[in-house]
Amino acid sequence: MLEEVKFKVLRYDPDKDGKKRFQEFRVPIRKGMTVLQGLLHIKEKIDPTLSIRFSCRMATCGSCGMMINGLPRLACYTLIEELKTRTVVVEPLRNFPIVKDLVTDFEEFFNKHRSVKPYLIRIDTYVQEKSNTMYLQSDEELVRYVQFAYCIKCGLCYAACPVVATDKTFLGPQALAQAYRYYADSRDEAGVDRLKPLGDGSSLLRCHFAASCSQVCPKGVDPALAIQLLRKEVLLRS
């Protein structure tokens, strides 16, 4: 006889009644089972109408972010046994509009990501696009930004941020960490032009350094560190 846990899953369907409610499922578990596997069990064996977004199942694609027992986590990266509870409460990510059940809308999140120009800006654009020239970098230059390049855009930091919760004009930890990631890259030549749009009152300076983003990041990116380093640059240079 397999052990069972109770899954309390938030259900929401705008095409039906549009009301949010919790639905309970009993799921048999085995050692090493993840929350995503539990949800897939529900979808395959109990209720095929449950909507989930997932892809790689190995914490690389960043698709399966959701609130699990009150914290933003990747469902594929969270073992049921590590939660140490008989009830697993699963809700869609906070600070994102809900599309259906556990699926959230990332449009605003990706728009903010795009707004910081997350790509190398070079003066020699012709050489950059037409040739196979390599831009060499020392190990010290790499270490200045590589931590922030591990971001998988899962949105957990965005869901944990108390400022994003009440101020949608704030760019959020993910976009700001990426702004610093490219600013600190020795191959990038945009320089202070990257800082100028961040000098207003809301884009960057609304960060109150709650550092919840860094607590929940599944890849060790530490957006709070990137934001403080970026703020220093904005305060001193732009």
């Binding site: 931590q147 550092a211 060790g220 990116v221 990137a226 703020r231």
Partner: protein
Amino acid sequence: MSTLLTALRTWLVPFRYGLERWSYTMQRISGVVIALYFVMHVASTGQVVGGPSVWTLPPYEYAKQVWLETKEFLANPLFDAGLVVLAFMIFFHSINGVRLVLAHFGLILKKPTRPEYPYHPGSMSRIQRVIFWVSVALATAALVYSLDVFFKVLQP
């Protein structure tokens, strides 16, 4: 959920996000309380009882009377308890605020490194944790001192 409820939940519920979220919540609450205190302080001494003219126009006996009435009004345990809490908040807010300013200028942060599991965010460095706990300790000392001033808790 309305924006107000979301704001209250994110401000006032620091659980499970680590020490820095506690710092955030306490800094915000103490900031609001200190700002409200300043407004009430100015209002009570300058506006509420008699208006600003009593301090500048003769007869000055009237100003003295107003001053004594105000002191009498404020001399009750409720206001004293408020000042005790305020002492804690002023000390915490100012010292923790210095930590935040230093962090904003990148002075007490760890350098970026290659992330290695288990991850330990460098944003909340050891020196920052020390300053945070120093601010809590000094604020607690201020609270105990003010408790003694107003309620004589340390005197036999």
